[in-house]
Each structure stands twice: as C-alpha cells, then as structure tokens.
C-alpha cells in the first residue's frame, strides 16, 4: 500500500513538474511574441484621442518599467511570477491576478455550459446518424450538423438574440449577473451565449461520434452482444459508445481547451466578461502583464483539461492503461 502511495505521489510530482516546465515555455514564448509584435502600450494609453507629448510618453514608459532591456524585464517578471506575483495591468496598475481570478470562472462556466450542451446534442445526433448510415436520416442529420459547422458563431448568436430577446423578449440580449446576486438572472443570461457556442461544437462532436461509432459497429463483439440478447440501445450506449469514446473525448477535450481562450466572439457579443475578452483586450492594448497572466491561466487550465482527457483515455480503454503502467 505504501509503495502505491509513493508511486502515486511520484506520478503526481512528475505531472506537476511537466506542467511547470510547460508553463515556463509558454510564458517565455508569449513574452517573445509580445515584444516582437508591433505596437506600444504607452501610445495607446496616452494617445487615445490626442497627441501626448514625448515627455509624457517617456515618463509613462519609465514608470511602467518598459524602458528596461527586454531580458531584464523578462527575468523580473519571471522572478515575480515564481512568487505568484503576476504584476499589475499596465493600464491602471490593477493586479493581474485579481483580473484573472474574476474573469476566469466566468469563462470556465460558459465553456462548460457550452460543451455540455454540445455533447448532449452532438453525441445522440452522431449516434443516430451512424445507426442509419446512408439513409435519409443520416443525410438530414449530416446536413444539419454541417450547417452547424459552417454558420459562424456570431451569426448564430445574432439570430438567437434577434429571436429570443428582441422578438420574443424571453431572454436578456446580453450581460452578466453575479450568481450570488441573482442566480436565476445569472442562468438566464448564460443561456444564449452557451447555446450559440454549443450548437457549432455539437456539430463537430456529432461528426466525430458518427465516424467513431461506425468503426466500432463493424466489430465482431457487437454481434456477440446481440447474441446475448442485449437491447440495441444498451449495446449502443454502454458498449459501442464506450469503445468509440476515445476520438469523441479527444475532440471534446480539444474544444473545451479551445474555448478557454476562444470564446472571444461570443463573450464580446453577449457582453460576458470572461477571460477571452480580457485577453483580447489586453492583446489589443499590448498590456503585457495582463496578456501574460491571462495566457498563463489559460495554459494552466489547458494542461488540466489535457490531464483529464488523458486520464479518461485510460479509464475508457484498459489497453491504453497497460501501456502507461
């Protein structure tokens, strides 16, 4: 028993170390990217609508520490980050960590809501298409899914708003209410953005489900299950789906990861104050510390999601588990 605890600890330790190194690499990459990109935060800060004087620019720059050599800026940042101090926003000195901590859960919530909707729609749709391969039903489902893939999220979102908010007035057009303040309102405002995101993702999940299901449906053991007298539904949901799950889980994981920094359009469109908005705003303003902080948060989430997905792989397929141990 002790040995297994030690083994587990070792494993966790290794994963943590890997994650740490990954984050370090990402941090370095972002740092380089931000400095290679054209753009100057100070000009944006001071010159929004007017001509700042060169002296004001210089003074601002030195106050923000941007006049230091890039390398020393990097190491200062890194050193602080190692102490969990991610600096302050260039624009207003507001701590990056507070920004990230307030926006991160909102993006997470939106992403999970979307992915749950997408899975609930996509997986059954894909199964239905696979079971009737080549039939009219398959064609119709495929077409619906395709439209889901090729209609951009902002068009879908706009249509949802036009219909559900402006026309019917059922749901708010945009905004965010803190769950602690009014939970009902909170979820009402979550509905449309989550739907808008979810539909498109559902389409991809459906496609992958269909293909993966077909792969498994051709296997001999399915026939053996039928011979046992198992109901078709149970065969599909319990055995075939689980055998087919790895590619599906992969694509869901990918999408969830993408959503971490990729809900920009939807967040903007529904005024959902999440991490993506923060990141894009920070990138646009060349707010380096904020970009760094938001990116690291996204990357960390990403790593978590990946670990989860890999864990799921081995739970789903014992043969993969064997390789790992």
């Amino acid at each position: 028993m002790n040995a297994s605890i030690a083994g587990a600890l070792l494993l966790v330790g290794r994963k943590l170390l890997t994650a740490f190194i990954q984050l370090l690499v990402i941090a370095t990459l972002i740092f380089s990217v931000m400095y290679i990109m054209p753009g100057d935060p100070v000009l944006l800060l001071l010159g929004a609508d007017s001509n700042p004087s060169p002296e004001a620019v210089a003074s601002m720059r030195s106050q923000l520490g941007l006049d230091q050599p890039v390398m020393s800026q990097y190491f200062v940042w890194l050193w602080k980050a190692l102490h969990l101090d991610f600096g302050t926003s260039l624009a207003n000195g507001y701590p990056v960590s507070r920004y990230v901590l307030s926006n991160l859960p909102r993006t997470l919530e939106l992403a999970f809501a979307a992915i749950i909707i997408a899975t609930l729609i996509g997986v059954p749709l894909g199964i239905a298409a696979a079971l009737k391969r080549g039939s009219l039903r398959d064609t119709i489902l495929t077409s619906v899914a395709t439209i889901g893939i090729s209609v951009p999220v902002y068009i879908l979102g706009t249509m949802l708003v036009l219909f559900f908010s402006l026309k019917l007035g059922w749901l708010p057009a945009s905004g965010y209410t803190d769950i602690s303040r009014n939970a009902f309102e909170h979820f009402r405002k979550l509905t449309l953005p989550a739907l808008a995101l979810g539909f498109g993702l559902a389409a991809s999940i459906a496609r992958m489900t269909r293909s993966s299901m077909l792969e498994i449906l051709g296997r001999d053991f399915v026939r053996a299950l039928r011979a046992k007298g198992m109901s078709e539904r149970r065969i599909i949901w319990q055995h075939v789906l689980r055998n087919a799950a790895i590619p599906i889980v992969t694509i869901i994981g990918l999408q969830l990861g993408n959503l971490m920094g990729g809900t920009v359009l939807v967040e903007a469109m529904f005024n959902w104050p999440g991490l993506s908005t923060l990141l894009v705003g920070a990138v646009s303003a060349r707010n380096y510390p904020l970009v760094q902080g938001a990116m690291l948060a996204i990357a960390a989430l990403f790593i978590c999601i990946n670990l989860l997905v890999e864990l799921l792989y081995s739970l789903l397929d014992p043969r993969i588990r064997r390789k790992r141990t």
Partner: protein, 278 residues
C-alpha cells in the same frame, strides 16, 4: 463501368450530388473571374446593401459591389486557404500525433507536450506573431491557419493511434520486422484515417471561418480581394439591413462544406472495407 457509375448515382444520390457541387466549386475557382457578371471591385455608392435585383442577382454589398461577382472570385482564395491549411495541418499534425503515440517514450513525451503548448497558445497570439513577420495575404494566412490546426490533428491522431497500437495486428507487423515507415503508413494510418477524415472536413470549415476572424488583426485576405470568410465576417454588421449579404456566402460555404463532408464520410466508408460492400 458506366452501368456501375449509374448504379452508384442511384444508390448514393447525396454522394453524387456532393461530387457535383465540389466540381462546380472547383470550376468556379478556376473560371470564376470570367463568369463574374460585374466588375467585382467596382464601387457603386448609389446602390449599397441592395437585395436581389435584375442587374445584381444576389444583391450588393456595403460598397455597392456585385455580390455574385465577388462570391465567384472569392472562391479561389477561400479554397486555397481552406484546403492548403487543412493539408498542412493534416500532414504535419497526423505525423506528429502518430509519432507521439507510437514513437519512443521521450520523443512522444516531447511531441505531446509541445502539442499541448501549441494548443494552449490562443490563435490570436500566433496570428499576431505572423502579422509581425509576414505580409498578410493568402500564403501567410494558409500557413498560419495550417499551423494553428496542427496540434488538433496531432491530438486526434495521437488518441486514435494509441487505440490502434494496442491491436494484435500491430504485433504481427512488428514480428515481421516492419520498418517504422511501413507500420505508420500501412498499419496505423489506414486504421486511424476515419477520425482524421472527420477532423479534416471540420478543419476546412473552421479555416474559412477563422480567416474572417483573423482579418481584424490584419491577417485576412487583403481587401479589396474578397473571400467567403471575409464576406461573412463583414456581412455580420449588416444583418439588419441586408440579410442576404450574410446568407449567400454562408449558404455557399455550408453547401461546400456539406459536400466536403459527404464526400469525406463516403471516403471514410470506402476506406473501411467492412462497410464497403453494402
């Protein structure tokens, strides 16, 4: 031969229709410029955002340019970006993913962690990096979008390979002394092709849409050249006044992607011998 073709046409109407759509799209990509009824770059401030009319069949855009003409010449860059990016992503991504699942443990560790890093790097940053280095245009757009999707393919290929690598015929290949190349190309690839085909069809659509998403960073097709993605992106702002503006390119895009999907599905089924004879 011909009777068989006819047979296919009868039993697979969707497939045949899709092939036809793709053929038309390809032809339009080649000859679109000549087919265009109007000069696609001619501004007409007196006729902006018009709906269908006798002279402009599909209406006009916010500059009064003929939508049909622009859709026609917009195919080429759209296809080039979408297909080019998909090819780049598919080739490099799949190979990386396979190596990540089948290669030596240190190699697969490196590859998969690198893939994770790439994945956690939001597209916008990579795009900005590209803007810093290259002129915007079809080529850089293709490369950037292609690179963006490499890790996606890698992940899909990786997971599928993990599954395949555990099957007994891989042991048989191994026992025969098959070279890595052979294992990859004859044992693994054909068996993981179906998720890859699906991923590819998804990528085609995503690439076209991403193109419009990246254009605000200045990485799009450089105006006044049109592309479908860019048209859809712009049209979003005019949903209220000129709904047709967004509907036409979206419809064409959906139709093309649908055709690609149907062909992709069919390809996937053809590649699966167990499904072929039905």
């Amino acid at each position: 031969m011909t009777s068989r073709t006819l047979g296919v046409a009868r039993s697979q109407p969707a497939f045949v229709a899709s092939l036809a759509v793709l053929a038309i799209v390809l032809l339009m990509a080649i000859f679109g410029g000549w087919l265009a009824p109007h000069d696609p770059f001619m501004l007409n401030p007196q006729a902006v955002n018009q709906s269908s009319s006798a002279s402009h069949w599909l209406g006009t855009d916010e500059f009064g340019r003929d939508l049909l003409s622009r859709l026609l010449i917009g195919i080429r860059p759209t296809l080039m970006v979408a297909l080019g990016a998909t090819v780049i992503a598919a080739v490099f991504g799949s190979l990386l993913g396979i190596a990540g699942a089948y290669g030596r443990s240190w190699l697969s560790f490196l590859i998969m962690r690198a893939v994770d890093i790439m994945l956690s790097f939001p597209p916008i940053l990579l795009a900005l990096l590209a803007v810093g280095f290259w002129e915007s245009g079809v080529l850089s757009l293709t490369v950037v979008i292609g690179v963006l999707y490499i890790p996606h393919f890698a992940r899909v290929a990786h997971s599928a390979t993990l599954q395949v690598a555990r099957q007994e015929f891989m042991e048989a290949e191994h026992a025969m002394g098959a070279s890595v190349r052979r294992v990859v190309f004859t044992a693994i690839l054909p068996n993981i092709l179906s998720p890859l085909v699906v991923q590819a069809t998804l990528t085609v659509a995503a690439a076209i849409l991403l193109e419009s998403g990246l254009s605000f960073l200045g990485l799009g097709i450089v105006p006044p050249e049109p592309s479908w993605g860019q048209m859809i992106g712009t049209a979003r702002g005019y949903l209220g006044q000129n709904p047709m503006y967004v509907i036409w390119p979206s419809l064409l895009l959906a139709l093309t992607v649908l055709a690609i999907n149907v062909v992709g599905d069919r390809l996937r089924d053809i590649l699966d011998p167990r499904l072929r004879e039905e």
